[in-house]
């Protein structure tokens, strides 16, 4: 199957936050008392991604030629092709699904939180008991959570479905890239000289693409996101190294056992050349 993606066109977004609400409703993150919102002097709410908030609109004020410009950004899992979370997940709880996006199996999540430590976009969040360490990770599942899988039945993700300005669109990644490039050209022609597409090449391709009217940095997006080198070390170096060191140790001990047993037998029996003397 061709890779799927979500295209977020920041120039069409009004930051109504309908996506936040639709996401919570569909994914059953609106249950219980919900999250308490606090006025922090911004329309942004809740203040951060959380185990119940998988998508969140960011509001940024930028001054440009004496005028204030409001930049909106969609904060959620980017579904990277080079996914650090998948690399560091010890037991394959996080995995790339057939859409090319990153799903997870909450039942097997050990709550180690390595994904949170290593994500270049700081997305995964843990529901954790600090005392016992009992924890589970949550993040945007691209609406593929078993039992709540919209994509499998031919729907678009909940956030896309609800977006009133069509700032969010869903489809084949290749087609969305073509759409996005066209849109960037239109914006450039209209005088938005910094317009650009984000996510085509980053981390060998994100599955959330961004049409932006300013540099990604202005939206708080990393210009060159990278899988942290230590993340590569964990799966590709540390795990095999661990087994190699363990195996070598056992081989060494086995060898020594043979040698030492010989020596012990030799100690207990007088050596034959002594007998001859």
């Amino acid at each position: 199957m061709a890779d799927k993606a979500i295209l977020y066109d920041a120039t069409k977004c009004t930051a109504c936050r309908g996506c936040q609400t639709a996401c919570k409703q569909w994914n059953e993150n609106d249950e219980g008392a919900g999250e308490k919102t606090v006025n922090t002097g911004s329309y942004e709410n809740p203040p951060d991604l959380s185990p119940q908030t998988w998508i969140k609109m960011q509001f940024r004020e930028v001054e440009q030629g004496g005028k204030i410009k409001w930049l909106f950004n969609r904060r959620a899992c980017m579904h990277c092709t080079d996914a650090a979370c998948v690399k560091v997940c010890p037991n394959g709880t996080l995995y790339r699904n057939e859409l090319g996006t990153i799903s997870y199996n909450k039942d097997t999540c050990t709550g180690c939180g390595y994904c949170q430590d290593f994500c270049p976009f700081d997305v995964p969040r843990l529901t954790a008991n600090r005392l016992t360490g009992i924890a589970k990770m949550d993040k945007c599942s691209f609406c593929t959570t078993p039992g709540l899988n919209r994509i499998a039945v031919g729907y678009e993700p909940a956030c896309v479905k609800t977006c009133p300005t069509k700032a969010l669109t869903f489809g084949d990644r290749d087609k969305l890239i073509t759409d996005a490039k066209k849109r960037v050209e239109t914006l450039l022609a209209k005088g938005f000289t910094n317009a650009n597409l984000y996510g085509e090449k980053e981390l060998r391709g994100l599955h959330v693409l961004y049409v932006l009217e300013e540099s990604p940095a202005a939206y708080g997006l990393p210009l060159a996101p990278q899988v942290p080198p230590l993340a590569i070390a964990w799966q590709d170096v540390i795990q095999p190294l661990g087994w190699a060191v363990g195996a070598l140790t056992l081989v060494g001990l086995g060898l020594n056992y043979v040698v030492a047993r010989e020596a012990k037998i030799a100690q207990e029996l007088p050596p034959p050349e002594n007998k001859e003397k």
Binding site: V88, T110, W234, I238
Partner: protein, 218 residues
Amino acid sequence: MEQQIERYRKPTRILHWVNAGAFIALFLTGLVLFIPPLASIAASNGSRLIHRVAALVFVVMPLIYMATNWKSSWKGIKDAFIWGPDDLGWVRAAPRYYFLSDEKSMPPQGHMNTGQKMWWFMVIVFGIIFVITGFIMWALKTSAPSPLLQWSVFIHDVSFITTGAMLFVHVYLSVLHPLMAGAWGSMARGKVSVEYVKSHHAKWYEEEIAKTEKAVTK
């Protein structure tokens, strides 16, 4: 029965066994992260709690020991960090001794031989590293900057591999090694035979035991 010499006092033995138990619990509950099919054990969350309880025991026991046995603690710490020419000699002679059974160039050893000293040194150093990196991951998970957490994971794991491999060496040498039959008794009952001391810890015998024996016989 052969004459027996006290090698480890009771508080030392209690510390050893409690921390050994805690370390093995920590080792096994950490090991599941290296065996993907077994990691579901950690998902049921019981192992994570065990890891934390064992970690507390692992930290608290040495503190209690140090508070109540400061003199031997200090001596133990000094033993781990002060290395002499005989230690260098041991390191040189060890490969031939362990793999070719050639004891000729092995210098006489003190209360701890150099191999035991290395392990003891690692226990102290890696123990502290484990505690610091573990504390960061436990208590500062949401507040510490990502690079610090990433390095903590990395260092915790490298320490795990190093000490885990050495744990096998330690258990092997003290329980299974054909020529070290007295080692088990030294930590189980605290006593070893004079013969064992003479052959494995000649320097200790010369410096400490022989002196007191003379004093007794006088």
